[in-house]
């Protein structure tokens, strides 16, 4: 009982961590993944994991993103531009679904408790740009 209580009464927050209670919104995660691809989606997801101090649990997201990114880039060079326009977006949505499954409880908490997410415009735009440029570079590398 004593041990149980001393564990419960150990602080979980620290003022010097610049801690934010919220993670980026589902909208930010969706739009970044949809337009920027798996790498961009992973940037947002892993930033959220950092805020939640869950990087130790969520690290497989990085591997999934890199794997899906390679697969989509390879398919784009073998199935023409139609795939690049349509199929890659389907892959992006699938990646968003994986991110959503990882962080579902936290998104739901924010929705239920009315927690305002941080503004994800700048980070989302930057991540999407990074994802698109990485995809173009990879396709060029494969083609050459």
């Amino acid at each position: 009982m004593m041990d149980h209580n001393s564990d419960l009464l150990r602080p979980s927050l620290s003022a010097d961590h610049n801690y934010s209670a919220a993670i980026y919104s589902v909208r930010t995660a969706f739009l970044t993944s949809f337009f920027g691809g798996p790498l961009a989606g992973a940037v947002i997801a892993l930033l959220d994991s950092y805020r939640l101090r869950r990087l130790g649990v969520d690290w497989p997201l990085a591997l999934i993103a890199i794997g899906l990114f390679m697969l989509l880039s390879w398919l784009a060079t073998h199935d023409g531009w139609r795939w690049a326009i349509y199929g890659s977006h389907v892959g992006n949505v699938i990646f968003f679904g994986i991110v959503y499954a990882y962080h579902r409880t936290y998104y739901k908490s924010m929705s239920v408790l009315g927690i305002t997410p941080p503004n994800g415009l700048g980070v989302g735009f930057g991540a999407a740009l990074f994802g698109i440029l990485a995809e173009i570079a990879m396709i060029k590398a494969i083609l050459s």
Binding site: L8, F34, Y86, V90, V93, G97, V112
Partner: protein, 295 residues
Amino acid sequence: MSNPEDRGPTLGVLLHQAHALIDRRRFAQARQILAAAALSHPDDPQLLYLTAFIDYSEGKLDDAEKTVQSVLLQNPEHYGGRTLRAELYEARNQYAQAELVWIELLRSYPEDANLYASYAELMMRTLHLDKAQRLMQEGLRLEPDHARCLYVAALLHIIQGRSSDPENEHLQRLVTQYPERIQTLLTLVVALNQRGDNQGALRVAQQLLRLRPDSPQFLNLVKELKFQTHWSLLPLYPMQRWGWAGAGVVTVIGIGVVNISKSQLTSNVATVIGVIWLAYVVYSWVWPQILRRLI
């Protein structure tokens, strides 16, 4: 809060009256009584605490903070003053400082279920859901029918459960034992909303607004639910019901149908399908914004 009876009959009666008025949120009248009592007992910690509580309830955080400091200067162990200090930290998003105050309080009152509930709420708000769960369980172990612990338990069940889960036992107990509490109705709104029953949630939210007509929070809640239940948003049901996951599925299906129609159907039919899809996408982005402004 400490017992007002031990402060002499006049002050005791005034404190009772002020308590009763604060419970009914009649803050202006409570302030008058507190001001009258302060003439004869200007430094009474309980009087100061109630004044700070009213300031906090009315959003005057700076005033509340100053008065709480006065309370704690006179009596550093004042229970109400310490809990209000934690609430003030939370109101200013200073969560780490608030946590330290809750922990100190729990060390002073290790059997107080209300403190476990307060700390659990903070952990929930900062997305430390496992710890919130354990704190709530400890609170319910100490007081199995504690209203605030049941409230936290019901919310955690909604957050962690799925819509197909069995009934929320804590919410049922909350509704049965504390049907008149604002927190009960609020939890009911959240539960109905999460189950997709927005019409039911709207009815309960309207009841909340009738109980607290001056609350901007409940007014916004009713507005939001009226928006979500508007007939013109019916084509967006998947997005409303399942959020961005629903949007993702609709997007995949839409792109798939447009793509297949280009290769399988005549160009005219494919063009019509493409235009309908485009119109749907534009409608899904533009109309909710317009409707929200209209409501």
